[in-house]
């Protein structure tokens, strides 16, 4: 802070001496968790924004993984050195949104700074995930992905089967794939794909209090019939050799698909680019399957990924800059660039139309699957969830899923334990944040 005041004073002094033409641009700090190729794209976005105007200078800083970035933001906030904009991932949303006054809701920010805002402009699956219970957008979805089924075209042809739209169909084709020498399926993120999105896909309630949006006094509803049935099936598939479990690392399960050990793999819409580089075979992407027995027609999925939050405690002048950056980000051309370069879905309808008009999906039809899935019919329980200490709850899930699959405990026992431990954590979170 002190340094900022100093540089502001210095800037003012310089401006005085050199006349108004040389006014220093206002610096806007942006902390993100996009490393590697994604980080390069963020840097390109930053340069584009800085070139597009002269009043603000956006400074993007990579702060490590999602957890690291959140931790860095928390510590900086406690030390009064918080950035203007920070990227927070889905599981951390409740932590930042529930802390009283840690963020400046993006919808308020845009309105206060006179930027036109209509939540209806955003794609339906994306719209409310980072909103509060009244539907006010708190964080702006930034990198949004959704779970998809990737399949090895050669393997499926060899077994003479089509990619499954439902888990019932999967059960029919799995033995044929096994005969052809493949494990039918692996997946890379059991909390995200086989728990959270399982609920939105079938329009099932995930937690009380409107999936946690209405209050922190909430109980988890993972211990339900559909989940138990699904995981019992997964365990059966594992035992029958239809399902490969290569630990909790995202990469190991994906590698199994790339190495043609498994014929199909559930990953993220953002995995497309990486697969194109590493897979030595033709592959396709399709929707996340659902159980016909649970929901006749599938519902849209949740998004994964992260959102941008404006942190409180800054000058109005700086918020103007933050708003300008958010406005820049929602520009259809910028969104299309982001979508094309990273594989994340565009967040606005207009951006989607731009990509379509450009013929992007004719050349790369698989890139559209994710958006189409997010645009599938919404239900009462498909807007998202808001649960505290969700990072730890995911750990609890990983733990008992591992134990369920290894046969240490039954599926029923597993869900009882998940429910009990998750509720204990939610209870703690409620007492921490409501206190």
């Amino acid at each position: 802070m002190r340094r900022k005041i100093l540089s502001a004073a210095l800037g003012a002094a310089l401006a005085l001496s050199a006349g108004p033409a040389a006014a220093e641009p206002v610096e806007i700090q942006f902390w993100h968790a996009m490393g590697g190729r994604l980080g390069e794209v963020v840097n390109e976005l930053t340069d584009k924004f800085n070139a597009s105007q002269s009043e603000y200078q956006l400074v993007s800083t990579y702060k490590g993984g999602y957890e690291d970035t959140m931790t860095a933001g928390i510590a900086a906030f406690r030390g009064g050195e918080q950035p203007h904009i920070i990227q927070i991932f889905d599981a951390g949303a409740a932590t930042i949104i529930n802390a009283p006054g840690a963020v400046y809701p993006v919808e308020d920010l845009l309105r206060d700074q006179g930027v036109a805002f209509d939540i209806e402009d955003y794609i339906s699956g994306v719209r409310y995930f980072y909103a509060d219970s009244d539907g006010r957008m708190i964080g702006m979805p930034f990198n949004s992905s959704t779970p998809l089924l990737y399949y090895n075209k050669d393997a499926l042809a060899e077994a003479g089967v089509e990619p499954p739209a439902t888990w019932e169909e999967f059960q029919e084709i799995a033995p044929k794939l096994k005969e052809a020498g493949y494990v039918a399926l692996s997946q890379s993120h059991s909390p995200w794909i086989f728990s959270e999105n399982f609920h939105s896909r079938h329009n099932l309630q995930l937690a009380t209090q409107n999936n946690g949006f209405d209050s922190t006094d909430v109980e988890i509803r993972y211990n339900n019939e559909a989940m138990i049935a699904h995981w019992s099936a997964v365990k059966d598939w594992l035992d029958a050799g239809y399902y490969g479990h290569y630990g909790r690392d995202w990469g190991a399960n994906q590698d199994a698909f790339v190495q043609e050990k498994t014929a199909m793999w559930l990953g993220s819409s953002g995995s497309f680019g990486g697969l194109q580089k590493s897979a030595q075979f033709e592959f396709g992407a399709t929707y996340l399957p659902h159980w016909k027995a649970v929901a006749d027609e599938p519902y849209g999925t949740f998004i994964g990924g992260a959102a941008l939050f404006a942190m409180s405690g800054h000058e109005d002048e700086e918020y103007k800059g933050a708003a300008a950056f958010f406005e820049f980000l929602t520009d259809p051309e910028v969104q299309y660039f982001w979508h094309r370069e990273t594989g994340y879905v565009p967040i606005t309808e207009a951006a989607y139309e731009t990509a379509k008009a450009d013929g992007y999906y004719e050349s790369t039809p698989d890139a559209e699957v994710g958006i189409l899935q997010l645009k599938q019919p919404a239900g009462e329980w498909t807007r998202g969830y808001r649960l505290g200490f969700y990072v730890q709850i995911r750990e609890v899930m990983y733990k008992y899923y591992d134990q369920m699959l290894s046969g240490e405990i039954t599926v029923e026992e597993g869900f009882e334990k998940i429910e009990a431990e998750a509720n204990q954590l939610l209870d703690r979170f409620h007492d921490t944040y409501a206190g």
């Binding site: 490393g35 980080g39 995202w250 190991a252 590698d255 580089k277 590493s278």
Partner: protein, 302 residues
């Protein structure tokens, strides 16, 4: 490593013809020691050999036991290029940071503990005893148990992502002070008396007599502390979020994350190359200054 690897084998072979009557015990001794050496050295050998092959070879054929042909390419990429397992930084930058941490830690710790031990041993002052106990207390509080608040303190001092914030919280622990306290106590009192007769003040005595006298001790402790500093992990991963300040040991975590995230063909050869680069400097220091290292280790841990 290739040469030293077969030294025991050669030595054992050479031992045989000279003495015809070799007891079973001697044979067993060598067998056990060779097994032990293989247990310790094989992983390093395999890591080094595997780092000289291409990603495709490793992916297809698994670990390697002999030199491949992409050594220069791999080490070049890891050292000087961003991207791959080093992401936004390079091994060269990370080695530089590790060097700063290792040296800063060792020097800082030695200076601070030498002076503090000097004050405690050679002066009669009112707060000497409480000071001693405060210093002693730090032995009870490993960094791990106060990691969250330590982080906050450093954050509130604005020292995150700085060498100061990286090094200073690590150097305060008392091990060095105890070490020098022990050493000063073994210095004959006559030296001080003689110095006094010559009219040397406390400062002169410290700089002209005690410091030169401590030279070998300092060298020994320096080796240990350099290695300890170089190998720091938990504090740096929490402290540094700016990848330009990553040490090579933090680079290891990053490699792990890159491999765990997957997505592209895993660059195992680069991962192995980075482990070799992380191991080499401290190991060379230890082996090169073996005598001092062992002396330092035995003395400092007591």
């Amino acid at each position: 490593m290739a040469a030293s690897e077969d030294i025991p084998a050669r030595a054992a072979a050479a031992a045989r013809p000279r003495r015809l009557r070799i007891s079973g015990r001697t044979l067993a001794n060598h067998a056990i020691l060779i097994l032990g050496a293989v247990f310790l050295c094989a992983p390093l050998w395999i890591a080094f050999m595997s780092s000289t092959h291409s990603a495709e070879t490793l992916y297809r054929e698994g670990l390697q036991f002999w030199f491949g042909d992409s050594m220069l390419e791999t080490y070049g990429a890891v050292m000087f290029d961003t991207g791959g397992v080093t992401k936004n930084t390079t091994a060269l930058t990370m080695l530089g940071n590790s060097m700063v941490l290792g040296l800063g830690f060792a020097i800082g710790k030695i200076v601070i503990s030498m002076t503090a031990a000097y004050a405690i041993v050679y002066f009669r002052f009112r707060l000497a005893t409480p000071f001693f106990w405060v210093i002693f207390l730090t032995l009870l509080l490993p960094l791990e148990v106060r990691i969250v608040p330590s982080y906050e303190v450093v954050a509130s001092l604005g020292l995150l992502n700085s060498y100061t914030g990286l090094i200073v919280p690590l150097i305060a622990s008392a091990t060095g002070t105890f070490f020098f306290r022990q050493f000063y106590k073994s210095v004959p009192d006559e030296l001080l008396e003689a110095a006094r007769l010559d009219g040397a003040g406390p400062l002169r005595f410290f700089l002209d007599i005690l410091v030169p006298l401590s030279r070998t001790m300092v060298a020994a402790i320096f080796i240990i502390m350099f290695v300890v500093g170089w190998n720091q992990y938990l504090w740096p991963i929490i402290m540094t979020t700016d990848d330009q300040l990553y040490t090579i040991v933090i680079g290891i975590k990053q490699v792990y994350q890159v491999l765990a995230e997957g997505g592209e063909l895993p660059q195992y050869q680069e991962a192995f190359a980075l482990t070799i680069l992380a191991i080499l400097p401290p190991v060379l220091v230890v082996l090169f200054f073996q005598r001092w290292f062992i002396k330092g280790l035995l003395e400092s841990e007591k």
